[in-house]
Structures are given as structure tokens and as C-alpha cells.
């Protein structure tokens, strides 16, 4: 019985990883579509989100059944809780990719600014790297790596901060940019939120390893509001 149970846990692990890969792909595509003004690619991201949601649904269902039928304890229990919580974070990351894709589709000949779009592209690269790293940290249950990735979140935050500043500065110079730059600000906020969800996943990897639920990156200060 233990063997069948182990197989189910292993399958949970694999499915979570597959879901993570799909979400990372969606984020990457959505940012690429945004800076390349590629509406077709953006539509693809929106269509594929259904599959991501289905993955989350299946994972939750499996977790609930494992809890009910196997009465998991210790490592097994933490493994299941980690998947359950972290898959919800992944799903939200996917939703943000959809929001970015929608911004891309919404743009209708607005004036654009290459400098800010370049900055968004850079932030996108960073978040993509974080997304990939968190998945490999998860696969290896590597707590140290997870803690390190969470620390990088402030880099994303500061890039996002810069994008917002630059957008406002450009809008002041050229009011025709207002429509486009509003989207820059929104997209940068989505990227920032994706970073926060990646940090959440770090927290669950730490939980898996230590059994302790801790908040990483509570670097809220009144200065950078």
C-alpha cells in the first residue's frame, strides 16, 4: 500500500512541476507578446490558461483524496500541503500572465515608448529566471535556494519602481503617451505581483523542509510607498 501511496505522491510532485513549467511559459510569452506587440501570442496565453486552471483543480482534488484516504503525517503531509498551497500561487501567477496578455490585446495604435518597454522586457527576464529557479528549488526541495530566490524579489520590486517612475516622467513630457504608459504601469504591477507569488512558493518550500510557516520578504516600509 505504501508503494501505491508513494507513487501517488510522486505523481503529485511531477504534476506540480508540469504546471509550474506551463505557468513560466505563460509568463514568458505574455511579456514577450507585450513588448513585441504580438496579439496572436497574447491570445495564446489567454487560451492556455484554462489548462493551467485544470491542472490546479486536478492537483487540489488529488491532495484532498490523499488526505482523506491515506491520513498522511509528517513528511507526506507537508508534501501534500506544499503542493496544495503552492499550486494556488502558481495558478495566480498564470492569471497575472493573462492580465498582461489582455493589456497587449487592448493596445490599439497607442503611442509607445521604447525605453520603458525595454525596462519591462528586463523585468520580464528577471521574473522568468526567478520562476525557473523556484521550480528547480521545489523539485529538489532545496530550502537554501528558495530563501535565496525570495531575496531576489527586491530586485524585481526596484525594477518595477523604476518602470513606474519612468512611465510618469515620459507621460509628463508627452501626454499622448498616457494611454500606453498606463498599461506599462499596470503590466509592471502584474510583474511585481508574480514576484510576490514566487516568494510565497519559497515560503512553502521552507515549510516543507522545516515544518515552519514563515513570512519571507516583509520589507514594507513607509518610505517606498
Amino acid at each position: 500500500m505504501r508503494r501505491a501511496y508513494d507513487e501517488e505522491l510522486e505523481q503529485l510532485h511531477r504534476k506540480f512541476y508540469q504546471m509550474g513549467c506551463m505557468v513560466n511559459e505563460a509568463i514568458y510569452k505574455s511579456i514577450k507578446a507585450f513588448v513585441k506587440h504580438d496579439k496572436e501570442l497574447a491570445k495564446g496565453v489567454i487560451d492556455e490558461d484554462k489548462e493551467i486552471n485544470q491542472y490546479e483543480h486536478d492537483l487540489e482534488q488529488s491532495c484532498i483524496e490523499l488526505i482523506a484516504l491515506q491520513q498522511p503525517v509528517t513528511t507526506d503531509l507537508r508534501k501534500i500541503i506544499t503542493v496544495m498551497k503552492a499550486s494556488a500561487d502558481l495558478e495566480r501567477m498564470g492569471d497575472h500572465a493573462v492580465s498582461i496578455a489582455k493589456s497587449t490585446i487592448r493596445v490599439k495604435g497607442n503611442k509607445r515608448n521604447a525605453t520603458v518597454e525595454g525596462m519591462i522586457s528586463d523585468a520580464g527576464e528577471k521574473i522568468k529566471k526567478m520562476g525557473e529557479d523556484i521550480l528547480s528549488a521545489y523539485v529538489e526541495y532545496d530550502k537554501e535556494r528558495a530563501l535565496e530566490i525570495a531575496k531576489y524579489d527586491y530586485l524585481v520590486d526596484s525594477l518595477v519602481h523604476d518602470i513606474k517612475e519612468a512611465s510618469i516622467a515620459e507621460m509628463k513630457k508627452d501626454p499622448e503617451l498616457v494611454l500606453g504608459a498606463t498599461d506599462y504601469i499596470m503590466v509592471s504591477t502584474y510583474i511585481e505581483r508574480i514576484g510576490d507569488y514566487i516568494t510565497n512558493i519559497s515560503e512553502w518550500i521552507v515549510y516543507f523542509d522545516t515544518g515552519e510557516i514563515q513570512e519571507l520578504n516583509t520589507h514594507h516600509t513607509y518610505e517606498n510607498l
Binding site: M1, R2, R3, A4, E65, L69, Q70
Partner: protein, 254 residues
């Protein structure tokens, strides 16, 4: 899943011990090559019910039965049914390991011999195959001549399972097969049972709810001689339809 006809089909089964009615019109389908678990508090009729599936209740004089139990569509209580053949097709393993006070080899060869197999080589093959199926071959292969009562309880129970398998039954009834065993032996038997379902239809009575949830595909919940609810184990243990099932499974009574 394709709906196939059930291996055993029980219709309106009523059973009395003298004046006492133990089973009140039970209906149940037992699917082929799956594990069906019976759960319920003591005295709810699940052991009585499982015993009626291979007519072990025939041995109790005051016992009277109405209704039908079909095995592959044939009523096992009809006059045409040969009870010895029935029990070859529907084997049983009991709560207490009950090997015969004979060698391990003779325990396993007992059934095939009573069914007329005398050839030494054939018997050797049956013994080896059965012990392997019962996941105990490696532990006993070097001393098959040892008395079966001299080995541990967990091993004895697997010998009893091997003995039941030796006559190549189609259905294996297990009445609380692990309640007398330690957790390690229990885990071994559970592992074994889940492997056996590839070839056999298994019906298991258990007092251990966790065991039912871990091992079985279908669960039937018994109470006071009635089947309150039956269905997929996943469903019964996550969201049963009946409140009594919910209360029993979650430990609110029983």
C-alpha cells in the same frame, strides 16, 4: 469506466439466526478484480454477510436465508450448486491465522490434493506460485518442511492467504485479515492485497477505517443488518451521501 456485470450480485438477502434477523434485505454488487471493503460497527452484520458469500453459514444449524447471491449470474444457494466447488471458487481468509498443524508445504498443497492433484512436480509448482503470490516465498523457501505454526503470526496469515490462493479461486473473502497482526505485517498484507486485485476479486471486512480507505476501491457501510451506503471509496471517504456514514467514518459513533 466501462460497466461490466458484477462478479457477485446480491439481491434482497435476508438472514436469520433462529428468531433473530441479522440481515434485512441487502442488495450489493461486487465488481470483478476490485477490492470491496465492508465497514461498520460490531454486530452490524458484515461478518455474517461475508460468510454467506461462500455459504459458510450452512454450518450453523439455526441459520436461514432468503434472497439470492449470484456468482457470475448463477445463484449460489440453488440446489444445483456444489458447495465444495463454490468454496474452491470463493476462498476465505480469517481473522486469526489458522494454518493446519502441518508443514508449510502441506498447508499449501492441502487444497490442490483434495481436488485430486497428486503429481509431485505439479504440487511443487503450485506451492511455489502460491507462496510467491502471497509474498512470503523468499521468507520460507528454505524451510518448507517447517511446521506452519512455528512461524510468526504475520507469516502465518500470508501462509493462509497462499493456501487460499493454491486452489486458484476467483473471489477471495477476507474477514479482518490483519486485526491480529502488528503494523509491519499489516502493511505487508495490505500491499499484497492491492497486488492480488489484478487477478482476483477481493472482499474484505475490516474494523480499521484507515485500512478500508487505503486499500479498497469500493466501500459498503453496514449498520444494524442494513447496508446504509455503498460506492467508490474515494466518494465515501470524502463526501458520503448518508449522514450515518459520515458520522461513523468521522468517529462520531461506533
Amino acid at each position: 469506466m466501462a460497466t461490466q456485470s458484477p462478479k457477485m450480485n446480491i439481491k434482497d438477502l435476508k438472514l436469520w439466526y433462529g428468531d433473530f434477523q441479522a440481515l434485512h434485505g441487502l442488495d450489493l454488487e461486487i465488481p470483478e478484480k476490485q477490492i470491496t471493503a465492508f465497514i461498520g460497527p460490531s454486530g452490524c452484520g458484515k461478518s455474517t454477510f461475508i460468510k454467506s458469500l461462500n455459504r459458510m453459514n450452512d454450518l450453523i444449524e439455526t441459520c436461514r436465508i432468503e434472497g439470492t447471491i449470484e456468482l457470475d449470474g448463477k445463484n449460489i444457494y440453488s440446489n444445483k450448486m456444489d458447495v465444495n466447488k463454490l468454496r474452491k471458487r470463493v476462498g476465505m481468509v480469517f481473522q486469526q491465522p489458522n494454518p493446519f498443524p502441518k508443514s508449510i508445504y502441506d498447508n499449501i498443497a492441502y487444497g490442490p490434493r483434495t481436488h485430486g492433484i497428486k503429481d509431485k512436480k505439479t504440487l511443487d509448482e503450485i506451492v511455489e506460485r502460491s507462496l510467491k503470490q502471497a509474498a512470503i516465498w523468499d521468507e520460507v523457501k528454505d524451510h518448507l518442511d517447517r511446521n506452519a505454526l512455528s512461524i510468526s503470526g504475520g507469516q502465518q496469515q500470508r501462509i493462509c492467504i497462499a493456501r487460499a490462493l493454491a486452489v486458484e479461486p476467483e473471489v477471495l473473502l477476507m474477514d479482518e485479515p490483519t486485526s491480529a497482526l502488528d503494523p509491519i505485517s499489516t502493511a505487508k498484507i495490505e500491499e499484497l492485497v492491492s497486488d492480488l486485485k489484478n487477478e482476483y476479486t477481493i472482499v474484505m471486512v475490516t474494523h480499521n477505517m484507515q485500512q478500508a480507505s487505503r486499500v479498497s476501491d469500493k466501500t459498503a457501510f453496514f449498520l444494524n443488518g442494513h447496508i446504509i451506503e455503498t460506492g467508490d471509496t474515494r466518494k465515501i471517504f470524502t463526501n458520503p451521501d448518508q449522514e450515518e456514514t459520515e458520522n461513523y467514518i468521522s468517529g462520531r459513533f461506533g
